[in-house]
Point group: C2
Chain length 293, copies 2
């Protein structure tokens, strides 16, 4: 790890994920220069102020000139378009990774967009979200102790893959390898489904005529349950669409759970309710004991 | 408020709610003596160690001798039985309140159990839960700045009601009055439903053959979404049963929300998903700006 160093990092999409990656590599002292590319000049100016990036690049060509590391950190539906922009200017030997929350679609987008340069791409998903979005929420600590799932493609050049892994390690993350399909199935259950459920609950309450009163009696339990419903709607729209087959399967399973609860309530089966609640509590508490955070 | 003082508080059920009430009144300096009654001698001994109570009473008669304030803080299905125990020994002029999370059933239990002493009872629900349970989690600060809903019954003696309100005020709470029916409807939406949803999700994941792997990729979003699934199964069984008609209506509405999401996913309607997510985020963020905590 002592020889980890990047001359120039180009970040496409300087939000929470991109900004935190840049800040982490800077703090680790493993990157000389960081440039940012994005849709909003105001956001890029804020990223410069926050020292997440050194400068905003005027176009992809100048961003990629001399860049040996590239992070794509945009809502996943934009991945293909951004990779197409990148493809023509990417230097030989430059390593490309991403921060997308779904991986089958990202791999398909890369295959379509990168051509012979596909071997320079190593897909990654840092499991380190926050309900806050935007570079103003970025932190050099976001990835510290967190898991980053790598879903390498067969064509990847070994040296490129090593460079990408070094970069995420330098952010403080631990790496786990999976296939894109397996990644998307696991995340559908433990991330995409809970996000959909939280959005659905708040939307339901908000649509009631007595919404103001209902919210006024919502307590700390509601606040934490719905924290992820303050996440970026655009980002989560893209995740839900990209993973919709596996998410649909999870929503269907979850509706069956609700049908069970309804059945228990209808027949006033306290023992069955208590068993379900006790199973949940025991499993969650066991998980907390083993989880890093 | 300067003349608020209680000679003796008797707490039936010395857990999170009962222990915190005792600790708060002690710290406010408005109670001279606190005795506890409960099913578990070990728990009562711990409550004495933690100075939540001064001593464990050997029976209801001795607990209530000289008591001018009584708190019933047991899982709601036990309320009737505890009030029956209390009825024979309650001193004239003693004020009784409770901490139950449902109120129609508590009012019915009181009417059945207290007879002519019903006028000494003022039902209350402090909206200040925590996923932790037991007296070891009790805190003198639990009710500070929190809402306590009072659902007074027509028979209540005005001086008794004033005493109960003084006690909750001394804990640092703000009081709101509602009918039991209205209370139960509001809490079904913003508390009982989210608890059922969180238990249902963790139970679902825990039942999978790959549960260990799934939990290992669950992040901070999952942790907060499911925090309330670490709540007491017994307490939540009772709440769900006591409020089952209104909770069933909420689960049914929520299943309709999930059907909407399934429909959006099936037709890949990103605009509709984004609208739902944006409505939820905007409503939650507006609520956070107005909420006290």
């Amino acid at each position: 790890m002592s020889d980890v160093f990047f001359r120039k990092l180009a970040v496409f999409g300087v939000g929470l994920i991109g900004g935190s990656f840049a800040l982490a590599l800077k703090r680790a002292g493993v990157v000389q220069q960081v440039v940012g590319v994005g849709r909003s000049a105001a956001n890029l100016a804020r990223a410069v102020e926050l020292q997440a990036i050194d400068e905003a690049a005027v176009d992809s060509a100048s961003a990629l000139a001399g860049a040996d590391l590239v992070l794509v950190a945009v809502p996943v539906q934009q991945t293909r378009q951004v990779l197409q922009q990148i493809a023509g200017y990417l230097e030989p030997g430059a390593a490309v990774t991403d921060g997308g929350s779904t991986k089958r679609d990202v791999v398909a987008a890369a295959a379509a967009a990168l051509g012979a340069k596909l071997k320079q791409f190593v897909p990654a998903h840092p499991i380190a979200g926050a309900e806050l979005s935007g570079v103003q929420a970025a932190s050099a600590d976001l990835y510290r102790g967190r898991t980053v799932v790598i879903t390498p493609i067969p064509q990847a050049a070994p040296d490129i893959r090593a460079r990408v892994e070094q970069a995420w390690h330098a952010c403080g993350a631990r790496l786990v390898e999976m296939t894109p399909q397996h990644h998307d199935a696991v995340l559908a259950a433990v991330s995409h489904l809970p996000h959909a459920l939280a959005f659905a609950l708040v939307d339901m309450i908000a649509g009631r005529t007595d919404a103001a009163e209902l919210f006024s009696f919502a307590g700390a339990g509601f606040r934490d349950f719905t924290r992820i419903a303050s996440s970026s709607p655009e980002m989560w729209r893209d995740i839900c669409l990209a993973n919709r087959d596996l998410l649909l399967a999870e929503v269907s399973d979850y509706r069956a759970q609700l049908a069970r609860i309804e059945e228990y309530l209808q027949r006033a089966d306290g023992a069955a309710l208590e068993r379900m609640f006790e199973t949940a509590r025991a499993a969650r508490n066991a998980w907390l004991r083993t989880a890093k955070s």
